[in-house]
């Protein structure tokens, strides 16, 4: 088997604050294959949002990457000089954010921003190429939009422009952090359809960071569920929804309201832990109905519970009968 496109091993991120050190990401490991769609799912404070910039080594001080290794296309990013890293950030992978307004330059036109992203030294007109990209991302009236500034566009259109800029670099991996969270539901559906279409067309891999299990269900191949800076469960999408093997995943699935009201709501009690001074034991134990003394004290291993299916739970075997709710 060939090496994966991206391998993340034991990634840790710490952020010192006045109250103490926030352990935002605590030993996250996963791989992404070429062309694959992978989701990092979790709620606020789960570490999902910190993981992507940490992969790109873009953590701003005082935050720091305190451990782990990231291999992209066979190269260890930690060993690369800043210049090579810059090149990989520019062309290897691209990031699309929740709020495109903060990622777009407010004083440049759409055309200038797409042109900036196009590789140098190729014999084509930059304008035609930019126009072509805008058409591909489904911007209405693309000739006129080329001259527009970001503030003249709607939220959905800005996200489309972000995608056009991303595609200009023909990346192997697209990192999308809550790309549709700020959008209305009909626009969200349009953008998600567009991302899937473009991803297939360009053969890109996609890491989707999201809090929305519904979006995960419709978009991805594999899922990692994060909680308190750790991956709690990792599985193919079908297995995760049909046979969840971590109490947090089960709770999360049961918390999602269903439009057909097929399930009664079963909220998870309590709230997520403080990420400062996390002790040993399972961080979910205080909210978990299955937790016992050993869950609160011991180190919890990440164990294989099925084909490509991993869970960080001592009771994973007991959960088999419970699952599928």
């Amino acid at each position: 088997m060939s090496a994966p496109l991206l391998a993340v091993e034991g990634l840790c991120v710490e952020i010192p604050t006045q109250r103490g050190i926030v352990q935002a990401v605590r030993g996250v490991s996963f791989t992404v294959e070429r062309g694959e769609t992978f989701a990092l799912v979790g709620e606020s404070g789960s570490g999902k949002t910190m993981t992507c910039p940490a992969i790109l080594r873009l953590i701003h001080p005082p935050g720091r990457i305190s451990g782990g290794r990231v291999t992209f296309q066979g190269r260890n990013l930690a060993r690369l000089p800043e210049r090579d890293l810059e090149r990989i950030r520019g062309s290897g992978f691209v990031m699309v954010f929740q709020d495109p307004m903060s990622a777009l330059n407010p004083v440049l036109t759409v055309e200038e921003q797409i042109a900036e992203a196009l590789p140098w030294g190729r014999p084509y007109s930059r304008r035609d190429r930019a126009l072509d990209l805008l058409r591909r991302v489904g911007i209405p009236d693309p000739e006129r939009r080329l001259r527009a500034y970001p503030h003249q566009l709607s939220g959905g259109q800005r996200q489309r422009v972000m995608l056009a800029i991303a595609l200009a670099r023909q990346p192997a991996l697209l990192l999308a952090d809550e790309p549709t969270t700020a959008l209305d539901v009909t626009i969200q559906a349009q953008i998600l359809r567009l991302i899937v279409t473009l991803q297939k067309e360009y053969g890109m891999a996609l890491i989707l960071v999201t809090h929305d299990l519904g979006v995960v269900y419709h978009m991805v191949d594999r899922v990692a569920v994060m909680y308190a800076g750790q991956i709690m469960e990792l599985a193919a999408k079908g297995d995760l929804f049909a046979r969840p093997r971590h109490p947090y995943t089960i709770g999360l699935i049961r918390s999602v309201p269903s439009i057909d009201r097929r399930r009664p709501l079963a909220p998870i009690p309590g709230s997520p832990p403080d990420l400062i001074g996390l002790g040993p034991g399972c961080p979910f134990a205080p909210r978990c109905a299955w937790a016992s003394d050993e869950c609160r004290t011991g180190e919890i291993p990440f164990v294989r519970v099925g084909d490509g299916h991993w869970s960080r739970c001592l009771k994973a075997d007991l959960l088999e009968a419970e699952a599928g709710g």
């Binding site: 009909t186 699935i253 439009i259 057909d260 709230s271």
Partner: protein, 335 residues
């Protein structure tokens, strides 16, 4: 049927955009945002109406007009038989007590420099409810009612998590024992697991207190759990209203069907889907004819000219669409 608790008739609220001297010199016509553009509905005691729609559809403005946080331009808001639009500011206080609101962001609606108990006491003081001693025990009771402990009253809003703050926001709204509770996107700022907790709390409170509610949300999934009836809004108007189960089983308006098919449902939806393209037009330039026609896959020549009225086409089910009725008669609707 008993008299409804709330009856809204032809309510209109337009916001004029700034019109400068330059605009006048260039002979530009003054423009207005037609946020609420002729809305009528009734709400019976003890019932919950879900008001859904996307950003800019006017659902929040409508809620604020009912609360008299905005003064509507035209129309009637009859609460328990009295038209609130005719009540003077000075006479409004007793009605404010009977109609309360929970907002999306509890942090923005709580005083950060005041303990939660003080905030709740203040509400009781303003409306002169009970003796000072009774007020103290009422605060403890309220905190317990929303799933906090009486000791939490000594904390400041900043010491609570988002979900707990929303519990405080709900406690404040309930302090006055309102008859009508308007909840404006109360779950939108919360994480999924916390959202489910607050949704459950609202369900429990409604059952135990017999509240009448208007639940404003962009999320059809949440509305499904909490509402007896659902009204779907688009660009300032209600386009469809039906009992909840009926609306989700037999949506008739193409916009409702599109909204339902856009919801990313775990497990897939298995219903008629209308993927719609394009974005809603601005409420400044509302299209002629049916306001949904530029995005509608069913549109006919008539839709470009004539604005459809809300019409009952099934029992308890009203729709504003020229095509839906004909489609239903032809048996073309999903069953």
């Amino acid at each position: 049927m008993a008299e409804p608790l709330l009856e809204v008739r032809d309510l209109v609220k337009h916001f004029p955009l700034p019109h400068t001297l330059l605009d006048a010199a260039l002979r530009r016509r003054p423009e207005t945002v037609r946020a609420v553009d002729g809305v009528s509905f009734t709400l019976g005691r003890g019932n919950t109406l879900g008001l859904v729609g996307e950003s800019g559809c006017g659902k929040s403005t409508l809620g604020r007009c009912i609360l008299r946080l905005y003064d509507a331009d035209r129309g009637e808001v009859r609460f328990d038989g009295v038209d609130l639009m005719q009540v003077t500011e000075g006479e409004l206080l007793p009605y404010r007590r009977r109609i309360q609101v929970v907002f999306q962001d509890p942090y923005a609606s709580l005083n950060p420099r005041q303990t939660v108990a003080k905030t709740l006491l203040e509400v009781l003081d303003v409306h002169r409810i009970g003796s000072p001693r009774e007020r103290g025990s009422r605060v403890a009771q309220l905190l317990t009612q929303v799933g906090l402990s009486p000791g939490d009253g000594h904390k400041y809003p900043g010491e609570f998590s988002g979900g707990q703050r929303q519990r405080v926001g709900i406690a404040r709204a309930l302090a006055l024992e309102p008859e009508l509770l308007i909840a404006d996107e109360p779950l939108s700022a919360l994480d999924v697991s916390i959202q489910a907790q607050i949704l459950q709390l609202l369900l429990d409170l409604r059952a135990s207190l017999g509240l009448t509610m208007i639940f404003i949300s962009h999320d059809l999934r949440v509305v499904r759990y909490l509402s007896d009836d659902v009204a779907v809004m688009y660009l300032g108007k209600i386009v469809e209203r039906a009992p909840t189960a009926e609306l989700f089983a037999r949506p008739q308006h193409p916009y409702t069907i599109a909204l339902l098919s856009a919801v990313p449902e775990v497990g897939g939806a298995g219903r008629e889907e209308i993927p719609i393209e394009g974005e809603p037009p601005s409420a400044v330039r509302i299209p002629r004819g049916c306001r949904f026609h530029p995005r509608c896959p069913w549109k006919t020549a008539r839709c470009l000219q004539e604005s459809p009225d809300l019409k009952g086409i099934l029992p308890g089910h009203t729709v504003a669409c020229h095509v839906a009725e004909a489609r239903l008669a032809a048996g073309g609707s999903p069953t």
